[in-house]
């Protein structure tokens, strides 16, 4: 049992026993799904399938169905890619970085945040693949011997770094998530009454035992994977930012990009976690485990990373003038006052102003306000990528090539479709998987549970 200051707010409210924790988490999986679940899943699936239809049309017809032109060769696709990959940064940050820092509040949210990460990275990975046009030759990004002579992929290119970074990130996140899931699947397996679900969870749990030696290995694997995943999280979005920063396009060619992108990714990822968890805790009655204190902690992360992002915006603006490069200066003038000023304005309001409201304790502990801000931040972070990509591309060195980008219905359809698919995946996860890390919650129950903290023994022992 770990020691914890008695004045710290308990992380698990109410008088829960180990068995209550199991009951609370397993009940939604074992009971019949509520009607609302079917409605939401149906809506998400229809939107997702519409997106799949748009993707199939795109693949059948060609990338020309997007609103791209000679000047703007990347638009919504790369915006959506960076947006999704950014959202996919919270999960591993919560489960890996916060594990290394021994933050116990992460245990209530890490499972679902990591599921969200995995689904978001799925959605992100889709965009570069469909942007290839000929998705069936997607394997050409791998360095495999080929019939074209000694033609290898270019290891100097940040685009190839991205291939390695994202596939590593996705697969390592899945492994990290699954290893934590095995003991919890075993809990459901041992409770299951129906033969089909017993069989299913038995396969999923890999025959987990709970032996002392297995737990010893489990903890070592969790720790080492967290240690590996921590630099991985930072590297992935740094490499995504290299896609832009290593180019010579004004507005992209800056050294500030890696840290600024990573902060932005954590910022948007936590916002998405808030959006999902605020609904989930209510729908699955997990208020005792994910309560105001958890929301407050996450809001503080949002506030800090939002401030880093805001500082980066202003630094960028200052440097564009201070560097004395006229193209650079123009790119930023054009961002703020050009034809895309409204996107810049949306980005600034949503990302710089809104997180500052979290300095007020009453606001950051208000669930309704948090939900509102989380949506605002998600919108703002989409606009951030849109601004960076669009305003830099649409007017660069050659004024005769200046252009504008108007999204086609397929652009919009693919984007909305990925949101639908993402929610469909998440709803499936919430229905069939243990949404809280049961074994981890139980291990902190005695240290951070309300009933234990309030008992006279607790104070005597600490």
């Amino acid at each position: 049992m770990q020691k914890e200051a008695a004045i710290r707010e308990p992380l698990i409210l109410g008088h829960k026993t180990y068995h209550d924790v199991t009951e609370d988490v397993c009940r939604p999986i074992e009971d019949k799904a509520p009607k609302m679940w079917y409605i939401l899943f149906g809506i998400a699936l229809i939107i997702g399938l519409y997106g799949v239809g748009c993707i199939l049309y795109l693949l059948g017809t060609g990338v020309g169905v997007w609103g791209l032109n000679k000047t703007i060769g990347w638009a919504w696709d790369i915006t959506n890619f960076v947006w999704w990959i950014g959202i996919g940064h919270a999960g591993t940050l919560i489960s890996a970085v916060l594990l290394l820092f021994r933050q116990k509040w992460r245990m209530a949210i890490n499972r679902s945040a990591e599921a969200m990460t995995i689904f978001a990275v799925f959605m992100a990975g889709l965009f570069p693949l469909i942007h290839m046009g000929r998705i069936w030759v997607g394997y050409w990004v791998l360095p495999i011997p080929n019939q074209f002579g000694s033609l290898w992929v270019n290891f100097n290119s940040p685009l190839l770094w991205d291939v390695f970074a994202i596939s590593t990130y996705l697969s390592v996140s899945v492994v990290f998530w699954y290893i934590g899931l095995m003991p919890d699947f075993a809990t459901i397996r041992d409770r299951a009454k129906k033969p089909i679900s017993k069989k299913m969870y038995s396969i999923l749990s890999f025959g987990w035992s709970g032996r002392a030696k297995h737990w010893n290995r489990f903890e070592m694997v969790s720790l080492v994977l967290a240690g590996l995943a921590t630099p991985l999280v930072f590297s992935v979005h740094s490499i995504v930012s290299f896609d832009f920063a290593t180019s010579v396009i004004p507005g992209w060619h800056t050294t500030i990009f890696p840290p600024y992108f990573v902060a932005g990714a954590v910022f948007s990822g936590f916002a998405m976690v808030q959006t999902l968890l605020l609904i989930m805790r209510k729908a699955m009655s997990l208020e005792a485990y994910i309560h105001t204190k958890h929301i407050e902690y996450m809001n503080i992360v949002i506030m800090v990373t939002g401030s880093i992002v805001g500082t980066a915006y202003i630094t960028e603006l200052f440097i564009s003038w201070y560097c004395g490069v006229e193209y650079e200066a123009y790119a930023f003038m054009n961002r703020a006052t050009g034809p895309y000023w409204w996107a810049y304005f949306a980005m600034m309001t949503c990302n710089v102003v809104s997180p500052q409201l979290m300095w007020i304790r009453r606001l950051r502990r208000s669930l309704l306000f948090t939900f509102f801000i989380s949506i605002v931040v998600n919108i703002g972070m989409w606009f951030e990528r849109y601004v960076i990509i669009m305003t830099s591309l649409h007017r660069d060195y050659l004024p005769s090539s200046w252009s504008m980008h108007y999204p086609s219905p397929i652009d919009i359809g693919v984007y909305i479709g990925t949101i639908g698919l993402f929610f469909a995946f998440f709803l499936l996860f919430a229905r069939f998987f243990p949404v809280l890390a049961l074994n981890e919650i139980k291990s902190i129950l005695k240290g951070s549970g309300q009933s234990y903290k309030e008992s006279p023994d607790y104070h005597k022992n600490h």
Binding site: M1, T17, Y18, H19, T22, P143, L151, W152, V153, F155, N156, P158, L160, W161, F164, A165, T168, S171, V172, V175, F176, I179, M182, P183, A186, T187, R189, D190, R191, S202, I203, S205, F206, G207, W208, S209, G210, R211, A212, H214, W215, N216, R217, F218, E219, M220, V221, L223, V224, L228, A229, P231, L232, S235, I239, L438, N439, K442, S443, K446
Partner: protein
Amino acid sequence: MADKVIYVMYDDDGVLKDGAKKLVSKGVKVADTFSPFPIHGIDPIIGVKNTRLGIMAFIYGLGGLTLATIGMRYFMIVDWPMNIGGKPNFSYLDNILAFVPISFEFTVLCAAHGMAITYLLRNKTLPGMPAQNPDPRTTDDKFVMEIRTSDNSMEEKELEKLIKETGYIEIDKKNI
């Protein structure tokens, strides 16, 4: 000689730990414990050695780094040196900065997956394996201690007397 396994069930991790400490001090060998979450501090009491998976992860990582270096050197320097703006391309060291990201990613990839696969194999936890825990309640809120008669020189009766003092809630015996 017929071996007998005694499963002693507790409803609290602290009670099990104290019980194990008491039994071990009396010279009883506790074979294993089964619990719904890691009981911190039980390993040295019942003599479970710390895992060496961390060392394996390091070795897998080194393997990944080596493989990435050999691969990229062959692709980019030996087999088809790319002429990018006339920049030097005739030695790995000249270009090493461009190879840092993939070297890192590949190291992590190999270390993480190598470790995870070793973990699953060593645990014998693979898809479709039967459940290894003696009682389904050990994944919920019960804690079980496994004691084998063949591990202990003392008589079964004596053993049971010692176990009785540890405050268990259930006891189960099985011949194997």
